[in-house]
């Protein structure tokens, strides 16, 4: 949980890569072991993670279904026009697991890392690309501003909607063109207000001596602790192992 966000982002990336490298279902034991370890370390309750799978359950089911019926190979049984093959069963389980692992892995990142840590991590990770013209600081700053204003704009959306409803606006019926028109009284004020906010915020930022990323320090320094080092070594081993499995088997 307390690992360096940079590490967490990189780890998630390497995890995803490993996931796609591995093409043997037996090697998934490795993934399971890795996930189990991370979940244990992160102290996120398992229930919480599994709940994240709920909305995607149908998609997993469809993936499973299509794979099981559409893969050619040794026929196991026939259901009308459809046939289930040995390879199909294998593929279906394999793909469904891959998807589940993918979702668990990525949600682990967002569950254990605050948005600020994420943006900070992204900024630092992008820093080396600065010389290729990637504006690392600016991108991170924009994300911070976006995250700061998303709740504000959500509230405002609700407020404007209600205000226009009080003037008889109808957001709830009609065909698509009527709907599109009904959104004008909502979106135009929302857009305008966003720009007004941007203007005022820019002024407030400059009044507080903002002048871009140069010479800027951060209150919370990201420090690479010993635990980050250990975790990194484990990570490298893990990726190495998955590549090894891929080549060897």
């Amino acid at each position: 949980h307390r690992l360096d966000p940079r590490f967490k982002i990189l780890a998630t990336f390497s995890y995803i890569i490993s996931l796609f490298i591995i093409d043997d279902i037996r090697a998934y034991t490795l993934i399971v072991a890795f996930l189990a370890l991370s979940i244990k370390l992160s102290k996120v309750p398992l229930k919480y993670i599994l709940r994240g799978l709920k909305p995607i359950f149908m998609i997993i089911l469809i993936t499973f279904g299509i794979n099981i019926f559409m893969t050619k190979g040794e026929v196991l049984c026939v259901l009308g026009p459809l046939q289930i093959t040995k390879e199909g069963v294998y593929m279906a389980i394999f793909m469904a697991l891959r998807l589940i692992f993918l979702i668990i892995g990525t949600s682990l990142l967002t569950l254990t890392t605050s948005p600020i840590q994420l943006t900070d991590g992204i900024e630092i990770l992008l820093n080396p690309f600065k010389r290729f013209g990637v504006p690392a600081h600016e991108l991170a700053m924009m994300m911070t501003i976006a995250l700061r204003f998303i709740p504000t704009l959500l509230e405002e959306t609700d407020k404007i909607m209600k205000a226009q409803m009080a003037r008889g606006a109808d957001f709830e019926s009609g065909n698509i063109t009527k709907r599109a028109k009904s959104l004008i009284p909502l979106l135009v004020p929302l857009f305008i207000s966003a720009f007004r906010r941007a203007d005022e915020l820019a002024m407030a930022m400059e009044a507080r001596c903002y002048r871009g990323g140069e010479n800027r320090t951060r209150m919370k320094q990201l420090k690479f602790h010993e635990r980050d080092l250990i975790a990194s070594i484990l990570m490298v081993l893990f990726v190495g192992l998955s590549i090894f499995i891929r080549i060897k088997f």
Binding site: P115, I116, T144, I145, L147, R148, P151, T152, E155, R196, R197, E200, L201, M203, A204, M205, E206, A207, R208, C209, Y210, R211, N215, R216, T217, R218, M219, K220, Q221
Partner: protein, 278 residues
């Protein structure tokens, strides 16, 4: 004593649609001493806000000069020093908070100044304590009340260790409770030695000032202690401004031929004056 803020024949013009020049600040000279608590009043469009922005070098003069602690706002090298010395708090509490938590936002200013992380931590903690927001330092700003948000903004300025803070109608969008929170904070900071320039529409906020400046059409039309200013009821009314209710009462009693002084500002003063009469 030296001047914290000084303007000399300050002019600010801007071009409103199609070359129509508008003069927002017109030949204005003021001196504000270190440690002073100055309130600027005037109706909308009188040039108050423009003046505030000129003092923070957000706007630059079209003519004349603005000096902050003897630094010329036209001197580009001094820009960051000026903004650090004279911090600014704006009207809308929402649109001046940058970061996603209170403490990160308070740290924004010092981070821009390139201060050491440990020192920033110290400053942020002190600033939050000073305005009384440390109990929700990890909260996201959208969960705070208007008064709390404004205090976060004040803490953000304080963390830059300013000598002067310019408040541009910080209470206009707040409820009475929020206004009180902010006004108490402002008074406290002034007692601690920070020069305060406070722009407001609420006359009761001007009662405790060292000096009140009344603006109209980009110029100073009245200037003096709250007592001197508010006794000129007729003139203020003509300018579209309020006076405290008790002052108004004293004024109308006087008109009825009652012998009562017109420079009453507070309820207590009124009570003691009436006691003498009754």
């Amino acid at each position: 004593m030296t001047n914290m803020v000084e303007t000399k024949k300050l002019v600010f013009e801007y071009i409103k649609d199609e070359n129509k020049k508008v003069c927002a600040v017109n030949n204005l000279s003021i001196e504000i001493k270190k440690g002073e608590f100055v309130v600027i009043i005037g109706h909308n469009g009188s040039g108050k806000s423009t003046l505030a922005k000129l003092m923070n070098a957000i706007l630059l003069p079209s003519g004349g000069k603005v000096y902050i602690n003897n630094m010329d706002t036209l001197d580009e090298d001094k820009l960051w020093d000026i903004r650090r010395t004279a911090g600014m708090v704006f009207q809308n509490p929402d649109n001046q908070i940058v970061a996603t938590t209170v403490e990160e936002d308070v740290a924004f200013g010092p981070e821009n100044l390139g201060i050491e992380p440990l020192e920033i931590r110290k400053r942020v903690d002190n600033a939050m304590k000073s305005v009384g927001i440390e109990s929700y330092k990890r909260k996201p700003p959208h969960l705070l009340s208007g008064g709390q948000k404004q205090r976060v903004a004040i803490a953000g300025v304080l963390a830059m260790k300013p000598e002067c803070i310019i408040f541009d109608e910080p209470t206009a969008m707040l409820d009475p409770l929020g206004r009180k929170e902010v006004m108490d904070t402002i008074m406290k900071l002034n007692k601690e030695g920070i020069t305060i320039i406070h722009i407001t529409h609420f006359m009761d906020e001007a009662v405790n000032a060292d000096r009140v400046i009344v603006m109209d059409k980009g110029q100073i039309v009245l200037e003096g202690t709250p007592r001197e200013i508010f006794s000129q009821v007729e003139k203020l009314k003509k300018l579209g401004l309020d006076v405290p209710q008790v002052t108004l009462l004293a004024h109308s009693l006087k008109k009825e031929g009652i012998n009562i002084s017109q420079d009453i500002l507070t309820v207590d003063e009124m009570v003691s004056k009436l006691c003498q009469l009754l």
